[in-house]
Symmetry: C2
Subunit: 438 residues, 2 copies
């Protein structure tokens, strides 16, 4: 079929031997590239580096004792069930417990049949891509947006329209402008993807007024809203905002939640709450992807909810992370050169988002940061269109308190260096212009 050689290799047009199977990859696979962010993250693994890069929960927030108790009980009393295959939709009692908690905590209506258990919210995003997206479909994402959602949706080749964020979340007036134009051009808008509460990477919350406006727009223009809410439970200060799903009277909101940030990430147990016809199709799609989420870890999560452990544990996490957030913010206020950089001041979640002056490039700066033993995630990773080069995401949940202080000091030094360099090159430019002007 191709220029075959006896050793299973081909010679390509450049005369280089390549394995024969390179020709067999789908176009989809040929375009797959390792993400820049993952390559950068590898650099941050060295022990001497203080990393604000990952999005990792703090192991101090892992409830090891209750998990040990639950696992021993399950293995003693229910081993036949918890070690066996389970249904694709997920363990019924877990879905029941989630449904009760959503009602009690977030005023979200939805019974166990409205819930599908997934391998992390990432799988929920993948399934939504599969259900709704294709070559001729459009979706709207915030700019910046969650990197994992970008990856999941990209696989289905849709058109991604980016609408910017500010301190009050998605700029809904910009969305409205877009929608008016798009309708005239026959755009097939599938859904708007938002992280309205403690945004990743931006740390901000969508204001209540904007939430209401977004719901109105979805009514007027008939699109779905995907509300990704991994951090909603992690509020350290300020007033609780209503979830979009709690405002939903017309089955327009698909709500994603997870245990990764409240219990542990290592179980990979998350859920999607959506109208039944959508859950049914997600279930069929999931059947082809992995048959079911591990029943063993689902049963642990179920017992954790059932025994009422989550609420007391959340208090502990909130105190731990809230303190880290305040330490980072306070240190930044004390030491960061504000003439070059500003940042969001979140009320919860795991991240804050720093924006440097135009012309300062966080990707170029990254090597310097690494050599100063401090790491962040470069802003460009979070934009569908390659913007955000002067931005960075800083995680405050994982590092030790004193390391946060030390790391912010190191980072401030790097930012200051690069800011001054830019100043002097701007001065040079002014001089050059002056000389040319003469």
């Amino acid at each position: 079929m191709v220029n075959e050689m006896s050793d299973g290799q081909n010679i390509n047009t450049a005369g280089i031997k390549t394995p024969f199977y390179e020709d067999l990859f789908s176009d989809r696979a040929k375009n797959m590239k390792a993400s820049v962010i993952r390559e950068l993250l590898k650099l941050t693994q060295k022990p001497e580096i203080i990393s604000f890069a990952g999005g990792l929960p703090n192991p101090k927030a892992f409830p090891v004792e209750p998990i040990t108790e639950i696992v021993n009980d399950l293995l003693k009393n229910e081993s036949n069930r918890v070690l066996q295959y389970g249904s694709t939709q997920g363990v019924p009692e877990l879905r029941e417990e989630i449904s009760k908690r959503l009602k009690r905590k977030w005023n979200i209506d939805g019974d166990a049949d409205n819930i599908l258990i997934t391998v992390g919210s990432q799988e929920g995003l993948e399934l939504l891509g599969r259900l709704f997206l294709g070559f001729k479909s459009t979706l709207i994402m915030e700019a910046p947006t969650y990197l994992g959602a970008l990856n999941a949706f990209h696989a289905y080749n849709p058109t991604i329209v980016s609408i910017p964020l500010d301190d009050d979340g998605l700029m809904v007036d910009r969305l409205e402008e877009y929608l008016t134009g798009a309708e005239k051009h026959g755009v097939m808008l599938k859904f708007v993807y938002v992280v309205p509460t403690f945004h990743n990477p931006a740390g901000v919350c969508m204001s209540e007024a904007r939430r209401r406006k977004l719901m109105e727009l979805s009514h007027e223009h008939d699109f779905l809203i995907v509300e990704d809410d991994p951090y909603g439970e992690l509020r350290y200060t300020g007033d609780v905002l209503p979830t979009l799903k709690s405002m939903d009277r017309e089955d327009r909101v698909i709500y994603l939640g997870t245990f990764s940030k409240t219990l542990v990430p290592g179980f990979r147990v998350a859920w999607t709450c959506a109208p039944k016809p959508i859950i049914n199709k997600m279930e069929i799609a999931k059947q082809a992807i992995d048959l079911c989420t591990p029943p063993f870890t689902q049963h642990i999560a179920k017992e954790y909810l059932k025994r009422g452990y989550l609420d007391t544990h959340l208090e502990k996490i909130i105190s731990l992370y809230g303190n880290k957030m305040r330490i980072m913010n306070k240190t930044m206020n004390e030491i960061m050169p504000k003439e070059y950089i500003h940042w969001t001041e979140p009320e919860g979640g795991m991240f804050l988002w720093a924006t440097m002056n135009q012309g300062m490039n966080a990707t170029e700066m990254f090597q310097d940061a690494i050599s100063q033993n401090v790491a962040y995630v470069t802003g460009q990773s979070f934009f569908a269109d390659g913007e955000g080069e002067n931005c960075m995401r800083l995680n405050f949940s994982h590092a030790e308190d004193d390391k946060i202080v030390e790391g912010v000091h190191r980072l401030a030094g790097v930012v200051e260096d690069w800011g001054r360099k830019l100043d002097s090159s701007n001065e040079d430019q002014v001089k050059n212009e002056f000389i040319q002007g003469v």
Copy 2:
């Protein structure tokens, strides 16, 4: 965008109200239907039914004590790590252990970098679909073939060519005929998917001669081979056959293995062993699907291998299932009406495959079987092209020994009834022909 109504519903052409989002589904999603087999399986859940339908391991084969020991050790000594996010490729020491075992047990070369951990082998199949298949690609599957593979590959819209099986596995001469023709027509053959050892559903093994021939054909025609081997460890009698992967000198074989049948299914830990460039792309694709397989269950599997528990445990499973297989086979030989039905006599695995006379329909017969409180899986589910209506898959690993005997008796009654019915309708037909002939 569509005929919008204030309550989030549309009126379709038949005048029926449908939720507005039905219009937003991708074509892919519009074509998704709940699988017939799953609907049938729901009927088999009643306690009075003796089910040969599922593909479930027997809970008696779950090593609960060693798992309890391991989990307590992990939570005591490594909780920070086993409860945290992990790498997409999988826990390095688990990949190391699998690599060592593959070498020792199956003479398969491949280091930890050649291995990707997946959420069940099902996810491996999904990833291979994503990497290789698209609208213009062709793959070859056995007829019958594994239902989960059909589901995974179907999602990518390839052309599926079915090549029949016999008691010696894939009929490789038929494959050769096909390949000769296909080459002339410019077919882009991506891979041949086989379950060469203790086939699901057919129970048979591909002979060693055919394995060698298949490897030669892959060399001559430059296609990949996907060797799905969930049951290879479960041999109860007969001589061990070499895996295709162990014969692979040219990186042509992608090997899928799993802990679902040897340890427990509830962990959802499986692996793919393949050339590094393929593993790298699978890893990128998996990143978008679920970030990582649960580290918690991966670490349990790792310790299980590391502590050398698997080999002794396999002896126990082999004795348990081997006995069940012999009981089913013996009872079938004693009681099944051989004028209407014959079946494969496997040497391992979890299934045997029964074929009834032409004209006897296992799907039509299913309701009768259920009313006699016995269940199987209908044959058609395992064919890409809707054949196999006179076939059924019988699982022998899950039911209690005495239930196997009782269930086979019940099934024999149903088969005999339907066989006689067919005989008499054939007689009627002959009479009618005779009368018409007069």
